[in-house]
């Protein structure tokens, strides 16, 4: 059973996921529960989905254009980005773009999600992780603390490249190698 980590805690997953394979079901106003569906299903059936009681979410493939969801942000409770292989890093950029476009809700990494990538994923804007089935949730939580300081800005400010007053003040005042 895959573990869901949300806001750095192990939580119950209340969402039902519609597999992108197989026949696409038709949602009806009586369909209950929170549903996570592929972009194509969302595009085709968003009116029905929104007319029912439960919450709605979209799973993006890492080749989908996140721009397509901008106008739907207020109708969605969850956006997930699928990692087909953990070595396929496109999902990181998709997450950065979603955050830049103004997505403030839950951003979930799903698919080949392993503990050793959680630190980077978090810095790209993911706040929820549906771990690959073989991953141990408890030990995965440690990975959020792999590093205490990041060098570059991401969705956070990072260190040193944001005019960090401390790093400027702590440096000696004489310029010894002139970059100018």
């Amino acid at each position: 059973m895959a573990t869901l980590i949300k806001n750095k805690q192990i939580t119950q997953d209340h969402w039902q996921t519609l597999d992108s394979q197989g026949e696409t079901p038709h949602f009806e106003s009586s369909t209950v529960g929170d549903w996570l569906v592929p972009l194509s299903v969302w595009t085709a059936q968003s009116h029905v989905l929104c007319a029912r009681g439960g919450r709605n979410g979209v799973i993006l493939q890492n080749t989908d254009d996140p721009q397509l969801l901008v106008n739907d942000f207020d109708r969605l409770a969850l956006i997930a980005v699928h990692f087909p292989k953990f070595t396929d890093g496109r999902g990181y950029s998709v997450a950065r773009l979603l955050r830049r476009l103004g997505w403030k809700g839950e951003l979930r990494a799903v698919g080949d999600v392993l503990r050793d990538q959680l630190f980077y994923m978090t810095r790209c804007g993911f706040d929820a992780f549906l771990m690959r089935a073989d991953q141990d949730g408890q030990s995965a939580l440690k990975s959020f603390k792999d590093f205490s300081v990041p060098y570059q800005p991401a969705i956070d400010a990072g260190f040193r490249f944001v005019g960090d007053a401390k790093s400027v003040a702590s440096a000696p005042s004489v310029v010894t190698v002139n970059p100018w």
Binding site: R90, S167, V177
Partner: protein, 566 residues
């Protein structure tokens, strides 16, 4: 040199803890081979033919004597007594044991070094001109900018799983000694009419199977926008670079397939959203970074031309060494000195623990404790007082580090090749050594003049054979080692890719072919200054072909491997 502060030290130390944990999980079976592989690669650890190979980053080529001694320590304690300087300003150890690698990394951290991102599909070690900061033709000192790039790229969360490796080189001089046009991104520091610093940005260069020169995507990128622009390039590459074929995954293929104008449009659209935001550099940040570099305590000296002239007259060997291995310095009274790691009987770039220690001593006594690593696999003492050159020459000679061959035929660049590397089709080092043996007469080599000879054991081109005046590439033909020879490649401002002269050769024939190429050159040159590459560019490759292959009917040799560049 850049000095780590407490934060830099903490980041490296946290990395070691992380990797130690990952290694432990791997060895205990909790982490699979596939899941571990990218993790170890991004710590510089390959699994090679005989044992793992650990690649240690030498950021933009700067290294000090205590770091050099640490390399010696690692070579002795964890390896077989030697290390190998690569063509990317790194040092490699070929025989460490996997379980000990975290300990090696901890030892390296004591001297502010690491193996972070020296491998894997991420942004690799930033490389730079080996004369940065001391060159007489410098426009902008690139070192601080290199350090800014090092920090920006280290553990960049978005770009750790790119389609393929990503290499960035920086040059700040008129002469491009960093081969910037052969990198995924090449940055040439320039000034605009107002004197402001900026960068000419080239993208999509590279060697490998599809050698291509980089194309300029931004003629003048203001310094403050350096990181946001690179973020934009990397994001476009990360999203659209090919992932279906490892040989077509570099950014050069994306640029080639989509064309530069299209990529440029996408990069600039992305940059429009990033420009001026987080990651925009301020003067305070850059100055703070600059202030973390050590002071080079130059004495106020004058050039000693007369003394050197007299010493050169008295000792022809010294004169020859000065001509090849001593380089002009921007500070009066100083010179930079190349210690050649290329001498007969030794694999190019290899250096023993004893030599590493002796080199560290030389750096302490002659060069303010600092050294540089060059992409030609030699070392440089950057800050030598001119009056000390003759003494240094004597000592370097005794250590076997004074071969006066920088820029000459025997300064061969070679990858580790099939003796060590599991990717290679053929050996490189024995070929280099056979050529060196054949040209063991120094007078002859000097008479031949400037000539870059580069050898790669496979199409991955770690030996940069495409840009050698003479390039040798190992190819596999029905399980046998063959060598394809090209001529006319060049590096620097006149970067060019060599052309293959014809069907490949058996290993034992290679030295003779090189000799034939040189014979022909000697008959065609108009003066001593007319270099091999000048002659190739003037007369073309046909006369060389004819001289090498004689009147052999080309059709009969068609059974040999088709040309890889075709």
């Amino acid at each position: 040199m850049y000095r780590y502060d407490e934060i830099d030290e903490r980041i490296v130390s946290e990395r070691i803890d992380q990797f130690r944990d990952q290694t432990t999980r791997f060895l205990s079976g909790k982490l699979s081979e596939d899941d571990f592989k990218p993790l170890r690669l991004q710590n510089g650890l390959y699994v090679q033919k005989h044992a793992p190979m650990l690649r240690v980053a030498i950021p933009y080529g700067l290294v000090n004597s205590s770091q050099m001694r640490m390399f010696a320590h690692i070579a002795k304690v964890y390896d077989r007594g030697y290390g190998h300087f690569s063509t990317r300003q790194n040092i490699q150890f070929n025989w460490p044991r996997l379980a000990q690698v975290p300990d090696i990394l901890a030892d390296l951290a004591r001297v502010q070094m690491h193996g972070i991102q020296t491998s894997g599909n991420c942004i690799r070690n930033i490389t730079c001109d080996h004369l940065a900061g001391i060159a007489t033709d410098e426009i902008v000192n690139p070192l601080v900018w290199c350090e800014i790039l090092r920090q920006w790229s280290t553990f960049h969360p978005e770009f750790a799983f790119l389609p393929r490796k990503f290499k960035i080189a920086v040059s700040g001089s008129e002469q491009d000694r960093a081969a910037t046009l052969l990198h995924d991104i090449g940055l040439q520091a320039v000034r605009n009419d107002q004197g402001d610093v900026g960068f000419r940005v080239a993208i999509g260069g590279g060697l490998g199977r599809t050698p291509i020169l980089g194309q300029v995507i931004n003629e003048f990128l203001p310094w403050s926008d350096l990181l946001t622009f690179l973020d934009a390039v990397l994001r476009v590459y990360n999203r659209y670079g090919r992932r279906d074929n490892i040989y077509k995954a570099r950014i050069k293929i994306l640029v080639k397939e989509k064309t530069l104008p299209q990529i440029s449009k996408e990069v600039h659209a992305e940059w429009a959203a990033l420009k001026g935001g987080q990651g925009t550099l301020t003067r305070e940040m850059v100055d703070a970074m600059a202030a973390r570099f050590t002071v080079t305590a130059y004495r106020s000296l004058a050039d000693v031309n007369e003394l050197l002239e007299a010493q050169r007259k008295a000792q022809p060997g010294f004169a020859r060494w000065c001509e090849r291995n001593v380089h002009a310095h921007k500070v009066a009274g100083y010179a930079a000195v190349s210690l050649s790691l290329k001498r007969s009987g030794v694999p190019p770039g290899d250096v023993s623990a004893e030599q590493l220690e002796a080199i560290a001593d030389l750096a302490d006594r002659y060069s303010l404790s600092e050294l540089r690593v060059t992409h030609e696999q030699n070392l440089i003492l950057p800050d030598v007082e001119q009056s000390q050159l003759a003494l240094l020459w004597q000592e370097a000679k005794q250590l076997g580090l004074a071969t006066p061959n920088i820029g000459l035929l025997t300064n061969i660049i070679a990858c580790p090749g099939g003796d060590f590397c599991s990717l290679a089709n053929a050996v490189s080092i024995p070929v280099a050594m056979a050529i060196e043996e054949r040209f063991d007469r120094l007078d002859y080599v000097h008479d031949i003049g400037e000539l870059d000879l580069n050898i790669s054991g496979c199409m991955n081109s770690c030996g940069h054979h495409h840009i050698g005046h003479i390039g040798i590439l190992g190819v596999d033909k029905a399980g046998e080692e063959w060598y394809q020879i090209s001529i006319g490649g060049d590096q620097g401002n006149r970067a060019a890719l060599g052309k293959v002269i014809g069907p490949s050769f058996a290993r034992h024939d290679v030295p003779e072919v090189v000799e034939k190429l040189i014979d022909l050159y000697l008959t065609k040159r108009e003066s001593q200054e007319d270099r091999f590459i000048d002659v190739v560019q003037r007369v073309g490759i046909e006369p060389f072909k004819k001289h090498v292959y004689g009147n052999v009917d080309k059709k009969q040799t068609n059974h040999t491997r088709p040309l890889a560049n075709a």
